[in-house]
């Protein structure tokens, strides 16, 4: 069954948008692990059950007792002015929230935003929403692009409401030493939420009443403890632009899909699609090994990394080997590669 929260699918796709199989997998919501299993490959990329459990526990700790810990930390980081701002919990009931399913969460989120846009009756000036759920308009993913926001801070300004996006992660905040890839991935997620919110507001024509801040925040853990560490003032503008560009690309591809592909045997559709191996595949795709073997078999230099593919500009691995071993070059590109190789061997 396809996953409904599309954030992971989207991130998977952005790691290698050139791979048709990856694109289809993201659009149709079919996990690559499932495709790999259908192909007879043992899936090895997966999340630790303890890490998942820890994530749930950390979120539960933050949001327990009407989110007192979360609100205190947000106030300390200057994201909300008053720690007594109310928390509206829109998470699913199975993880401790108040909504039965994603549809209900989405409906309640929309209704909350509608209230912001249309009525003046909302008394407190700041709200903290946990698990706000939106559908990104358009047809970028099938059947629909649903994203669940970990934290959304809604602040009343003089003439409009401002939405500030927050993302909860359990990895440790080590100041300037915090894992850059993990930070980049979290910012990318938050950027998608900024873009999604902007799209919803535009579709509902609430642009005058509600604005989405380009600045968001991340909630990480302090190393070795369960205490949160808030990284405020995260600029998400360019991540939101990246999401917009990528989702537009996905939308165009999704529009070209035939309905038959969508409805019948989606795993087979992904299996039948062509692949384009890249170095990044190693980090997320269970079929990476198979694709790398295929690249080596066909002499695709991407098998030795993206830099090699970029440097050799379309030369096959066998031709590269010939040039390195002294074969005469046929054109300028081959001459360049041979010259570089000759320079490199001089003092090795």
């Amino acid at each position: 069954m396809p996953k409904r929260d599309t954030r992971l699918r989207f991130e998977q796709w952005t790691r290698n948008p050139d791979c048709e199989a990856n694109t289809l997998s993201a659009i149709l919501g079919i996990a690559m692990a499932e495709v790999a299993r259908a192909e007879g490959i043992t899936a090895t990329i997966g999340q630790s059950p303890f890490a998942l459990q820890r994530g749930i526990q950390f979120e539960r700790y933050l949001l327990a007792r009407e989110g007192i810990v979360l609100r205190d930390e947000l106030a300390r980081a200057g994201i909300i002015s008053d720690a007594s701002s109310p928390l509206i919990d829109l998470r699913l009931r199975r993880i401790g929230g108040g909504c039965g399913n994603l549809d209900e969460a989405r409906e309640r989120t929309l209704s909350f935003l509608r209230n912001c846009a249309t009525s003046d009756s909302m008394v407190p000036s700041t709200y903290v929403l946990a698990g706000a759920t939106i559908s990104i308009p358009g047809r970028a993913m099938l059947p629909e692009a649903i994203v669940v926001l970990d934290v959304l801070v809604v602040t009343r300004h003089e003439r409009h409401f401002q939405l500030t996006v927050g993302e909860i992660k359990t990895y440790p905040d080590r100041g300037g030493y915090t894992d850059r890839r993990q930070l980049a991935s979290s910012r990318a997620q938050a950027g998608l939420y900024v873009y999604g919110l902007n799209e919803v507001i535009r579709a509902e024509a609430w642009s005058d009443q509600i604005r989405v801040s380009r600045i968001g925040f991340l909630i990480l853990t302090r190393p070795g403890t369960n205490r949160p560490s808030v990284r405020a003032a995260e600029d998400l503008h360019f991540q939101a632009l990246r999401s917009a560009r990528s989702l537009e690309q996905l939308r165009q591809i999704a529009d070209q899909l035939h309905d038959s592909e969508v409805s019948t045997k989606p795993v087979d559709a992904v299996l039948a699609a062509s692949t384009a191996y890249q170095e990044a595949c190693v980090t997320f795709c269970d079929r990476a090994q198979r694709c790398r073997d295929e690249a080596l078999r066909t002499g695709n230099p991407a098998a030795l990394g993206d830099d090699v593919a970029a440097l050799t500009r379309g030369l096959s691995l066998s031709r590269i080997r010939e040039l390195v071993q002294g074969a005469p070059p046929r054109d300028d590109n081959e001459r360049r590669v041979r010259e570089l190789a000759r320079e490199a061997v001089q003092n090795e």
């Binding site: 090895t44 997966g46 999340q47 630790s48 059950p49 303890f50 890490a51 998942l52 459990q53 820890r54 994530g55 700790y61 810990v69 359990t170 440790p172 080590r174 100041g175 030493y177 894992d179 853990t221 302090r222 190393p223 070795g224 403890t225 369960n226 205490r227 170095e279 990044a280 190693v282 980090t283 090994q289 790398r292 080596l296 098998a303 030795l304 990394g305 993206d306 830099d307 090699v308 440097l311 050799t312 691995l317 590269i320 080997r321 390195v324 071993q325 590669v337 570089l340 190789a341 320079e343 490199a344 061997v345 001089q346 003092n347 090795e348």
Partner: protein, 508 residues
């Protein structure tokens, strides 16, 4: 990855196996008795260790495991066991190690810098986690907390060392192998030490070695355990352990604990053994160590002495300024650290560039060097002196970062320095005039002729941009000066003489 790195990947592919990178090694060879290997495993999502392996590379490791890594007390008890091994290796005054030179009085004994090897970057990260967790920890049995505080500071020093260019104390095994060899694989796979070791120890052609390496790659080497193992065995065992703990069933606790130990010990041992193999590969490499390693050792000694000074101060007075694992806390200190890092970067580069021809070529390729033939040796007046002026011609192959007025140094003879007077470039040939300013006397070796000597004409020479570390050290000194323009602003922040720090002993 620069183009030369990429082309080395192609050369390795053509050879069908990893190829040595450069003609010299940067890491000095250390005896197994002078080396400590530490490897960790941790539970997914946690930043405390679940188990630790530590020991000398030629001995069986000590394996420490706790049944429940989320229990802070259990982890603290486990780590207390490793305190003496780690601190005595670092020469901590309270944990003196074995005296290897009993006949030599202590002050005259040869300096043995610490050498701690870890499997890869995730294990070095764990040192930082431990520093965060224990440097300022306060709760718990006082004796244990004191030992763990010392462990936290030691881990922080090791972690900070690992980020310093040219350091020799905290070695990431995968980085050491990457630095010494080029592998015919994608850079994304190069963090897996087991994969690299399998490439280096494997036999056969490219395909056979690739198969062996891929097999090694399927076994994790980072601090995280394979999620499949966590799912299949450890989840159930931990549930059982929790149940037994709740019902105070000591026998069941002990049974489950031994099963958890049985699941984790092979994981720890594998990480330890791979690191030991990486250490052996580096130690047995026939390439000589760069001549400039002495300067790197001196710098390591200086940094090590700073760490020991704090520890001695703490022992004597019970208080000292302790660096926070998270922040410099003071802008001047941060600035000083920055310029010191710049100096260390230059020192590491200088230690290598005169001795390692391949590294020198990388430097020239990056635009920081001129390599050509001397076409003229003449004289140029400078004040009341006359200086030698060399005209060097080189074929233009890549852009040049060196500009007129820049200081340069003769590769292979660091004492001979000069200033670039003019650069003329017609797209094919580059003509550079260098006035020799230092090293005018005759020196030993093939580059030793006096610079006025006409025999230089026709000789091939390499000039590299001069990166003197002295200026950075001078800047560091200037930062702490209490007189001069602008100090009313830069010295506004009060400097604390001791650091108390925040205790993070709350688990929520």
């Amino acid at each position: 990855m620069n183009e030369r790195e990429t082309i080395r990947t192609l050369l390795a592919f053509s050879a069908g196996k990893p190829i040595p990178k450069g003609t010299r090694l940067l890491l000095p060879r250390r005896a197994p008795s002078d080396t400590l290997i530490i490897a960790f495993v941790r539970m997914g999502g946690e930043s405390r260790p679940w188990g630790v392996a530590l020991g000398k590379p030629d001995q069986e490791p000590t394996l420490l495991v706790v049944p429940e890594p989320r229990d802070a007390e259990m982890v603290a008890q486990m780590l207390e066991v490793m305190v003496s091994s780690v601190l005595s290796h670092l020469g901590h005054p309270e944990y003196p190690g074995a005296n290897l030179y009993p006949n030599i009085p202590l002050p005259w004994q040869p300096y043995r810098p610490p050498s701690v090897w870890l499997p890869n970057a995730t294990h070095i990260e764990m040192l930082h986690f431990l520093a965060f967790r224990y440097t300022f920890a306060k709760r718990g049995e006082p004796g244990r907390i004191k030992a763990l505080n010392a462990l936290g500071r030691a881990c922080d020093w090791l972690f900070q060392e690992s980020t310093r260019p040219g350091q020799l104390s905290c070695i990431d095994a995968s980085a050491a192998l990457r630095d010494a060899f080029s592998f015919p694989v994608e850079p994304a796979r190069l963090a897996h030490t087991g994969y690299l070791v399998a490439w280096l120890t494997g036999k056969g052609n490219f395909k056979q070695r690739l198969r062996q390496a891929s097999k090694a790659e399927s076994l994790p080497i980072s601090t995280s355990i394979d999620p499949a193992l966590e799912r299949s065995r450890l989840t159930t065992l931990l549930k059982r352990y929790k149940r037994a703990q709740r019902s105070a069933d000591a026998q069941e606790c002990s049974v489950v604990e031994s099963r958890i130990r049985a699941a984790l010990e092979p994981e720890l041992a594998r990480r330890f053994n791979i690191t030991a193999t990486a250490y052996t590969l580096m130690t047995n490499d026939p390439r000589p160590v760069v001549a400039g390693v002495c300067e790197l050792q001196d710098r390591t000694r200086e940094s090590h002495a700073e760490y020991l000074k704090v520890e001695e101060h703490l022992l004597k007075n019970g208080t000292a300024w302790i660096a926070s694992p998270e922040t410099d806390r003071n802008s001047i200190r941060a600035a000083a650290k920055y310029v010191t890092l710049q100096a260390d970067t230059d020192l590491a580069r200088n230690a290598r560039v005169h001795d390692d021809a391949s590294f020198r070529d990388d430097t020239i390729y990056a635009g920081d060097g001129i390599c050509g033939d001397i076409v003229d040796v003449s004289k140029i007046p400078e004040g009341h002196l006359t200086r030698p002026l060399w005209t060097v011609e080189e074929r233009v192959r890549h852009p040049l970062r060196i500009r007129e007025g820049d200081d340069v140094v003769l590769a292979g003879l660091p004492g001979r320095q000069g200033e670039v007077i003019s650069i003329a470039d017609d797209g094919v040939t580059r003509r550079v005039q260098v006035m020799i300013t230092d090293g005018l006397r005759e020196a030993h070796g093939p580059l030793g002729w006096q610079p006025f000597d006409k025999r230089w004409v026709g000789r091939s020479v390499t000039f590299l941009s001069s990166r003197e570390t002295g200026f950075s050290y001078l800047r560091r000194k200037m930062l702490f000066a209490r007189e001069g323009p602008g100090i009313w602003l830069t010295h506004q922040q009060k400097r604390r003489e001791s650091e108390v720090g925040e205790d993070d002993d709350h688990d929520g």
